[in-house]
């Protein structure tokens, strides 16, 4: 009797287990559970975020800045006080007193020239003279890192009203400068992008004459330099 009772109970249990198994394995039931707990699609990995590290101020202890009135403004308003500046109003690629560099120790050079040469008849002459300047710097300090900076844009108002100082000419010169940097195996620093709006103009609040930057934008220019130079950690 006991044995038959046990067998009966065992059969009922097996039936119960079978029922439970069938119910929980039904696709609809599984889906309803999954719908509550599982998202519609597996998220793809987020694209890597490039983080730029700004160099410390002492990075510019052995730096030289060469440039025209825009760099002169940069020097006074935002530039590193510990750097050397070879800047002057109206400076051009063929008027840089590069021999002055023989008297100062330097390991990095930051150059921005070109806006005063936009009116030159032959852009090829501009690049030729720029190349000569680079070669002369290399002769003085062969180990120096040379950064050529893109010419900063001008404002919409200036660009649309000036036959020489406009962004069409600037962009053309920047292409030539970039190619020269490749040819000379030096760095091209596209600082222009940090002060350019969505339409390719200098931000409207960056300047009173559309060319020379105020402190806010000189600060941005310097920040771009600090976060885009090559250095050993």
């Amino acid at each position: 009797m006991v044995g038959k009772k046990m067998l009966y109970i065992q059969q009922k249990l097996m039936l119960l287990i079978l029922i439970i198994t069938v119910v929980f394995s039904h696709p609809n039931y599984v889906e309803s559970i999954d719908a509550e707990n599982v998202p519609d699609q597996v998220p793809s990995p987020a694209p890597p975020v490039t983080k730029y590290v700004a160099v410390a101020d002492d990075y510019f202890n052995d730096a030289v800045f060469i440039g025209d009135s825009r760099t002169e403004g940069f020097k006074m308003l935002s530039g590193p006080l510990n750097a050397v500046y070879l800047t002057s109003i109206g400076l051009k690629v063929d008027t840089v007193a590069v021999e002055a560099l023989s008297e100062v120790p330097f390991k990095k050079v930051f150059i921005m020239l070109g806006i005063n040469e936009l009116g030159w008849v032959y852009s090829e002459l501009f690049i030729e003279k720029y190349g000569e300047l680079i070669d002369n710097i290399k002769k003085i300090e062969p180990q120096a890192q040379i950064y050529i900076q893109s010419i900063l844009p001008v404002s919409r108002e200036r660009s649309e009203s000036d036959s020489i100082y406009n962004n069409e000419n600037i962009n053309k010169y920047n292409e030539l400068i970039q190619q020269m940097a490749v040819n000379k195996n030096i760095f091209y620093l596209n600082v222009a992008e940090c002060v350019t709006d969505e339409e390719g103009y200098l931000y409207s609040d960056a300047s009173t004459d559309g060319i020379h930057l105020n402190k806010k934008y000189c600060d941005q220019w310097f920040e771009y330099i600090k976060t885009h130079v090559v250095f050993e950690q």
Binding site: S69, R70, E72, G73, K75, M76, L77, L81, S88, I89, G90, S207, T208, D209, I211, H212, L213, N214, K215
Partner: protein, 165 residues
């Protein structure tokens, strides 16, 4: 009988006039070169606030002020310098020198920079040359005040209003 009264009144008037001329209030500065006590930063700020400059002018670091005017650090006790973006030649520079002789050296250096700027702007922005050729430059005791703008008369008004110059 009236004569003594008149004399007394005249004496009282004279005493009041003398007293008034010696009185210091918050807006008066002693113009005696030996007793000048000018707040150079405040003076520069007053000029910036009250002169209608064409360009944005910004105060610069003291080290840069020394550098652009090529001054001897030992000559300068206090300073405040405002420069433009480069769109114009406008600038403000107020210095307190360490003594009167240092003030003269600062004046010489300032004039030298102005001369160099005239040369630079001659070809670059010739319309800036007139204001450089006629800068407001005052040396009084150990103080040197430079302001390059198109508004020298306004500079005089500001200095007179706030400092009695």
């Amino acid at each position: 009988m009236h004569k003594p009264r008149i004399i007394i009144v005249l004496i009282l008037i004279a005493v009041m006039m003398i007293f008034t001329s010696c009185r210091n209030n918050d807006n008066d500065y002693d113009l005696n070169e030996n007793n000048l006590d000018l707040n150079v930063s405040e003076c520069a700020d007053k000029l910036k606030e009250n002169i209608p400059f064409e360009d944005t002018i910004t105060a610069i670091d003291d080290k840069m002020g020394i550098a652009i005017y090529q001054l001897n650090t030992e000559d300068v006790a206090e300073q405040k310098v405002y420069v433009s973006t480069g769109a114009t030649a406008e600038q403000i520079a107020v210095f307190e020198a360490t003594d009167d002789n240092a003030a003269k050296r600062i004046e010489t250096a300032v004039l030298q920079r102005i001369t160099e700027q005239i040369e630079s702007y001659q070809d670059y922005l010739p319309e800036e040359v007139p204001k450089l050729s006629d800068p407001f430059l005052m040396v009084t005791g150990k103080y040197v005040i430079l302001c390059v703008s198109d508004h020298n008369e306004d500079v005089e008004v500001v200095l007179d209003k706030y400092y009695g110059f």
